[in-house]
Symmetry: C3
């Protein structure tokens, strides 16, 4: 099972890094939840996510607005993942993994953009995210947060 | 076997990144050794470690002093691991793995903190570190070196 | 098969990070190709590689000139790899993997040096690279590009 999970995480990362944003909602179940939180808020149990999307339709909307509405400087991302831990019960899997995202600007400048962990509930039959929670180590966020983590 | 080793490394990394320092000694055998060296010294065969702990009791002491004595600015770490190579003989395993550690300060500032490789002897029956040698690429160290790598 | 591929990638990375450059050509088949491109050029189909080597002899030449001709400041590299995706057909495998390379200078200074993906064709019988294409996210390159990525 670990290989299938690693493969799911890997395909997700490459889709974003290859700028195939339109594929992004398809990694989630029909009602899948995607949210970004800070480690600080998560530890305090504060329900205040930085980003919250529920269901593929909302995820598609987000991609649409990224493509059409938002104006941002061209940039690339590179997701690195590590230390995947999984816990199985019944037909659901919880996966925790560390991530590091690097951002590369048009002029070539490269910076550490974000680090943290993904805490995922995965529907094993479809191999899709029921919930992906991105818990960022830093509370300082790029104001745009344009591209999904 | 590779999966069990990866799992051990992953649990170790998450314990540190989640600030569960009290769990840290439990990843070592009763007489387990933890030391930090620089690549330069290690290549020259200099026995001068930056940090040296032998046995769980000494590891626990280190955690105690981190918790109670040292005063340092709140900070988080994120460990990334990669390129694990293992070599088996009898009931002992040697594992070499690359690491990268990012440090996130209270104000959100993120920096590359350390890189290098772990060279580990692992007791396979208990799946614990008999020895974990952290060989850092850089010879420049943060003077505090507060949290274990 | 995924484990053998991961092992090949891991041995390649450690050889470079341990400064065993002379081993580097031996990771390729006799006529193996190594090239470095930018994501920008690769996406446009421009055949303009930053570096191009064909065959072990040419790879060895490159190592020779690095060792004897080029003068550069002592430095170390640390390769991190992640998100390996493989596709099998017949006796050939295509592997795509993300990478991040950190450079550590003599004085201890550490910087993000390069990020991108490896796109590899692997001869599975010998477990060697028939082709390794290093596609860098950034178009800004260190002018020396001394050590192989």
């Amino acid at each position: 099972m670990i290989h299938e999970i690693e493969n799911l995480h890997a395909r997700y990362a490459h889709a974003l890094d290859d700028d195939r944003l339109e594929d992004w909602p398809n990694f989630f179940t029909e009602n899948g939840v995607y949210r970004i939180a800070t480690a600080e808020n998560e530890a305090r149990g504060l329900p205040l996510p930085v980003v919250y999307c529920e269901g593929r339709a909302m995820l598609r909307d987000r991609v649409q607005s990224l493509r059409h509405a938002n104006i941002y400087e061209p940039q690339r991302y590179r997701h690195m993942m590590s230390s995947i831990l999984i816990r199985e019960d019944k037909n659901r899997i919880t996966s925790t993994a560390s991530f590091l995202v690097v951002r590369i600007m048009e002029n070539g400048e490269t910076m550490l953009f974000a680090s943290g962990r993904y805490v995922d509930r995965i529907a094993t039959k479809e191999m899709l995210y029921e919930e992906r929670v991105v818990i960022c180590d830093s509370r300082r966020f790029d104001t745009l947060l344009a591209i999904p983590l």
